[in-house]
């Protein structure tokens, strides 16, 4: 709780205010209010289809929303995709890691990591390459730099995806079920890399089903159900003494096995 309070004092880097999203008839996000402080690690949990992925995809504009407003690092996202240039600024400052890695299969590992810094930030190839090697080193795959994504294991690919996002020196990292597509024996290596990132003070919003990881790394856990934030608290509180019946019922289902 104490860490929570420190973060709460800081200016939030993400501020979602009464965000609502509809997919036709379906009300996917209902009045989402969420503030994330700089340096905070927030884990979002919930059943599949609860809207947790949609929530974080709204933050970098991969999903549009219909009402409310989102501010990311001083840039404002407007409903119905009318954000204009602010959107690109946000995407430049916000990194994302996807469930399916989404590496660029036609580019080598190195080119995957250097592309955006060179094309978006305008870095020289030399600078981008140096940064790429440093990041690949950090996630333990510098020796694979010349390979293509298809030649790597899932765990390695996801670590490349992490390095690729970090190469843009983001102020915030979004993780959309980063280990859900991995074989069990590869989950650990990806979580380790994320754990280290959290330790270094990166602001992170993580959607995951890894409850052990959430408990260990999160400053705050947000439980979302049917598009609503039902409850949010420090992991100890949320996991050990959830206040809401819906939280209890969800946790009893996922923690049983």
């Amino acid at each position: 709780m104490s860490r929570d309070d420190t973060h709460a004092d800081a200016d939030p880097i993400v501020h979602m205010d009464k965000v609502n999203k509809h997919f036709g008839e379906l009300h996917v996000l209902k009045d989402i209010d969420l503030a994330v402080a700089s340096g905070e690690v927030v884990v979002v949990i919930g059943a599949s289809g609860s809207g947790k992925s949609t929530l974080i995809r709204c933050i970098n504009g991969l999903e549009e929303f219909q009402a409310g407003h989102i501010e990311v690092d001083g840039n404002e996202l407007l409903p119905d995709g009318k954000s204009g240039r602010a959107l690109q600024k946000i995407r430049t400052e916000v990194g994302m890691v996807f469930q399916q890695f989404n590496l660029f299969p036609h580019l080598s590992v190195l080119d995957n990591v250097t592309l955006a810094p060179m094309k978006v930030r305008g870095w020289s190839r030399a600078d981008a390459t140096e940064t790429a090697y440093r990041l690949l080193e950090r996630v333990g795959i510098a020796d694979q730099a010349d390979k293509y994504p298809s030649q790597l294991s899932g765990g390695q690919q996801q670590r490349v995806a992490l390095a690729r996002a970090l190469a843009m020196e983001p102020r915030l990292m979004l993780f959309d079920e980063p280990t859900s597509a991995l074989d069990p024996e590869m989950i650990g290596e990806v979580l380790d890399a994320m754990r280290e990132l959290a330790r270094e003070g990166m602001t992170m919003i993580i959607v995951t089903h890894e409850m052990g990881f959430a408990r260990e790394v999160a400053d705050r856990v947000v439980f979302i159900d049917r598009g609503e934030i039902v409850e949010q608290a420090a992991p100890v509180t949320l996991f050990d003494s959830p206040q809401q019946e819906r939280t209890r019922s969800f946790l009893s289902r996922v923690l049983k096995h």
Binding site: N60, Q88, G95, F104, L115, A116
Partner: protein, 223 residues
């Protein structure tokens, strides 16, 4: 009466130098038309998937019209019909190239559309999430992958268009078939000469298939 027919190899070979004069025209019409058709295909293929309806509708109209009418009619229209509007004759070679261009362009538009749409959504999302603009995302991520997938259907279209040029003998352009007809008119060796004509088409199309196979193999790296 003796009905056995003797295939006259000598006559067949003798026709080759004359037939070869048609090859530059066949190649020029095919590849000139295909090059322009490729540019048309990129443009209209992308317009075809534009979210803007008044860009999409003209593209659909163009594709349907030129895919849905015979290339023979198209070339007759261009060569005999358009001069009535333009007030002056059109060179047969130009008419042939134009017909291949607009015809293959319609098919290539659909190839481009299919190629671009076949790239997983995650590729675009990942590139946009890194801050790349839509244009950069297309240029560096979507197009290179789409183009690789387009090579086999483009090869098909190339072969079809090469063979389509054989119809253009009707407008008197001296391509392969026309050369064959002219030659047969004096020697009457239809069997031998048309066989040679067929073999020459086969030589062109097989060379293209082979070249595309090399290109495809080269492009397989990293896929």
């Amino acid at each position: 009466m003796d009905v056995t027919f003797q295939f006259d190899w000598e006559a067949a070979f003798a026709s080759i130098p004359f037939l070869l004069k048609g090859i530059p025209y066949t190649l020029l019409i095919s590849f000139g038309g295909l090059a322009i058709g490729f540019l048309i295909g990129i443009l209209f293929g992308l317009l075809r998937i534009s979210p803007v309806i008044w860009l999409r509708v003209p593209a659909i109209a163009y594709i349907e019209i030129f895919r849905g009418t015979p290339v023979l009619v198209q070339v007759l229209f261009i060569f005999y019909g358009l001069p009535q509007i333009l007030g002056g004759p059109i060179n047969a070679l130009v008419a042939g190239i134009a017909a291949i261009a607009v015809n293959s362009g319609a098919y290539i538009s659909e190839i481009v559309r299919g190629g671009v749409q076949s790239i997983e959504r995650g590729q675009r999302e990942a590139s946009l999430s890194l801050g790349l603009s839509r244009v950069q995302s297309f240029r560096y991520i979507i197009w290179p992958q789409a183009f690789r997938r387009m090579i086999p259907p483009l090869g098909n279209q190339g072969i079809i268009s090469i063979k389509d040029t054989s119809l253009f003998s009707v407008i008197g352009v001296g391509e392969l078939v026309r050369q064959g007809q002219v030659y047969i008119a004096t020697t009457f060796n239809a069997l031998e000469v048309y066989l040679m004509v067929a073999l020459l088409y086969l030589a062109i199309t097989l060379s293209l298939s082979f070249a595309l196979r090399l290109l495809e193999r080269k492009g397989l790296v990293g896929q």
